[in-house]
Each structure stands twice: as C-alpha cells, then as structure tokens.
C-alpha cells in the first residue's frame, strides 16, 4: 500500500491505496469524480486526460503514486461558481459534442493547448489533438470551438 497526498481541484486529499492504482481509477472510484473517462485504457484515445501540475496527461497511463505531492485538475475543476470555462462554453455554443464521451478529455487537452498556443491556427489545433479520439463529431466542430475559445479568452 502507498500513502499518498495530493491536491485535486484545489482540495487536499490523503489516501492509502494499492501501489498499482491508476490515477484514473483513483479519481473515478475513490473520489467519485466520474467526469474523467476511460475510453481505450491503452493510452491512445485521450478520454482520460487531466492536468498534473498544469500539464495535460493521460490518467490511465499513470499510477496515482506518481502523482503524489502534485496538483491535479479534472474537468470538474474547470468551471468556477456555476460559470462554464470559456472552452466549455465554446464546446456548447459550437455543438462540439454528440455522445459526449470524448468531451472531458478534449476540453482538458484544449485548455492545455491554449496555454502553450494562445492563438492557434487550424493546423496547430489538429496537430495538438492527435492524442484525442472522437467517434461522433468528425472533429470539425471541436476545431471550431477551440478556435472560438482562443478568441474569447
């Protein structure tokens, strides 16, 4: 068992977990933060992307013990006081989701992308989305929404 202490969406958390607990399992099954999804479970699809110390990472490809002492933000931690984050608002406005399964990972990836590329062109958005799969939308509205969010931020 590993004793871990970390911050999740601004809240300090301490826990005893099996060493092999993946970060995504810890978030979903221990903290009941089910916004973070498991799509492929093989590091390909990006449905599980969260921020660790401000950088997008696949929480299915990380043990929670590796996040000991770190700051985690999940999709639940993006909006404040009932107000959507500009990227969330843009996804809603531009109809950037259908079933919504990929959406939390898309949004966390987009927020990370806009930190590094505040004004991305379409090619940059496409390249930065290489690790996020969507089986519904065909990506066009996702790309539109991220472009619109970059102008709104």
């Amino acid at each position: 068992m590993a004793a871990i202490s970390l911050t999740v969406n601004g809240k300090p958390i301490r826990a005893e977990v099996e060493d092999r607990t993946l970060l995504v399992h810890f978030l979903r099954e221990h903290l009941h933060l089910t916004g973070t999804h498991v799509g492929c479970d093989t590091s390909q699809c990006g449905a599980c992307v969260v921020h660790v110390n401000g950088r997008a990472m696949k929480s299915c490809t990380m043990f929670v013990a590796q996040a000991d002492g770190e700051e985690i933000v999940t999709v639940e931690g993006l909006s404040g006081e009932g107000k959507l984050h500009p990227v969330q608002a843009a996804f809603q406005e531009h109809h950037a989701l259908q079933c919504g399964f990929c959406t939390p990972g898309m949004i966390m990836t987009a927020v990370d992308m806009l930190k590094r590329h505040p004004h991305p062109d379409e090619e940059t958005i496409r390249r930065e989305l290489e690790g996020n799969f969507c089986r519904c939308t065909g990506y066009l509205n996702i790309i539109k929404a991220i472009g619109a969010a970059s102008r709104a931020i």
Partner: protein
C-alpha cells in the same frame, strides 16, 4: 485494466535507486511510464518493484556546452521540444521530440526511457545514432553505435541507469518522419546529420532495430543535397513487413524521408 501487483518506490537520488534495485527481486526502473505502463497493463511486463527515477532532479536538465549538447535521462520530450538551447544548437532534435506521440505523451515520456526501451519504431534512437551521441550511465559511457543491439534490446546491464545523453553538434541536421496513421510511431523516420568531415544517416521504423544507412551516407558525403539520393535504391531485404507497409514500401519511404530530412536541414 489492472497491472499485476508491485511495490512502488521513489528514490531521491541515484545511489538510493541503485540500492533499491539490488534489494528488489525483479525490479524495473520507471521514468515517464508511457511505454512501461501500457506493457504492464497488457501483462507483457510484471515487475515486482517499480523504482520511479523520474523525479531525481540530477537526471532532468538540458545543458549546452561548447561542443556538445547534453540532455539528462529524465528530461521530458515536451521540454526538449520547447528548449531554446536545443532549438539553437540542434534544431532537428527539438523537432524530433515535438513529433513523438501526442502532447500528453510528450509531457511524461523521457529521452532515457525512449532509448532504454529501443522500440524499433521510436524516434529518438534515429537521432541518437545519426548524431553519434554518447550515452552515460551510472556505470560507464556507451557510444550510440554500441548501444542499440536489437529489437527492444540495448547494451544496458541489469540495474544500469541511463543518466544523460551527450550530442556532438553537427554543422546541420534534419529529421523527417512518416507517422504510422494509427500509432504516430515512425514508419519510417530518417535523421540526417552533416558533420562536415562525415555524414551520418539514422533510420528507425524500417527494420528490427535502428540502423545507419551507409549507402545513403556515401551519396550524401559526395554531395549533400536531396537530389544526390535520386539514384539511390534502398534494399528491402532486411526491412520489416507488416499490415501497415511491405518491406518494399518501407524501402521507398526510407529514401523519400531521407530526402525530406536533407531538405529540412535548411530550415
């Protein structure tokens, strides 16, 4: 998916990491985990102890010296891609790091993990071999030429930890990759380095292990231009064939990527 049970350790320094390895029964080092964790989930690997070296501060650095660029083993792909020192001294290496996988993989994966893993389609091995880099470990220094020994195989001994990779500075260099449309791994990737007195060409994602394309090196040493390769033919005999590409198609792509890499040298 759950991995098999193991015990997780996070040593503060190399000495502690070495001691933990000696004390373990089937210990494995963990860096970014972007190759090892997927393998553990598929039960292709089931170490009894994981020794996380990714936060050992002495292993994370990028240092530009007069005649070489030195990168610590635990330095993340994203940090190499974004480094002003790498962009100024070997821009092709920064470009290579920026082409690995996707942003989330680049935020965790490390150069030491990539070369220790030696996936036949990984990007870094092509750059490390073409740039004639030297791999330093906790035990010795290994020239790139002797480091990559076969498919997922290296010269590393059990318990040996890559600490840094030192790259001599080329006059110019370029990398071009045909990404596998599904995995983004190289299919193939070719790194070309011109040192003035010699040209070296490293090829990944084409055979069982990264290799130097000596016939392309000879043609480029004669005249360093994409057109100098027009008459070259890459022999498919030793190349890999799979559902993505036949050996013949890979041979064709090696030449095309080599030409693109030469063109990339000029920016």
């Amino acid at each position: 998916m759950y991995t098999a049970q193991f015990r997780y350790f996070r040593p503060a320094d190399l000495g502690e990491a070495e001691a933990l390895f000696r004390a373990g029964s089937d210990a494995r080092f963990l860096a970014g985990g972007q190759s090892l964790i997927p393998a553990m989930k598929q039960r292709l690997a089931s170490p009894s102890e994981l020794i996380d070296i990714s936060r050992i501060a002495a292993l994370s650095f990028i240092r530009r010296e007069r005649e070489r660029l030195v990168i610590g083993a635990a330095t993340k792909h994203a940090n190499v891609a974004a480094s002003g020192d790498v962009q100024a001294s070997i821009p092709a290496l920064a470009a290579l790091a920026g082409m690995i996988g996707d942003p989330a993989v680049r935020h965790r994966g490390t150069i030491g993990g990539s070369i220790a893993n030696n996936d036949p389609a990984a990007d870094y091995p092509a750059g490390v071999l073409a740039l004639d880099a030297t791999i330093a470990t906790n035990m010795r220094k290994i020239p790139a030429e002797n480091f990559f020994t076969g498919m997922f195989a290296t010269a590393l001994e059990p318990g040996e930890i890559v600490t840094e990779v030192a790259f001599p500075l080329p006059r110019r260099a370029g990398y071009a990759k045909f990404p596998n449309p599904a995995s983004r791994y190289a299919m193939p990737g070719v790194f070309v380095a011109d040192f003035g007195h010699a040209v070296r060409v490293g090829v990944t994602g084409a055979a069982a292990c990264v290799y130097r394309a000596t016939e392309l090196e000879t043609a480029l040493a004669h005249r360093f231009a994409a057109g100098a390769l027009d008459g070259s033919a890459v022999d498919p005999a030793e190349l890999a064939s799979d559902l993505f590409a036949s050996a013949e198609y890979r041979a064709h792509l090696v030449k095309i990527m080599a030409q693109r890499a030469v063109r990339a040298c000029d920016g």
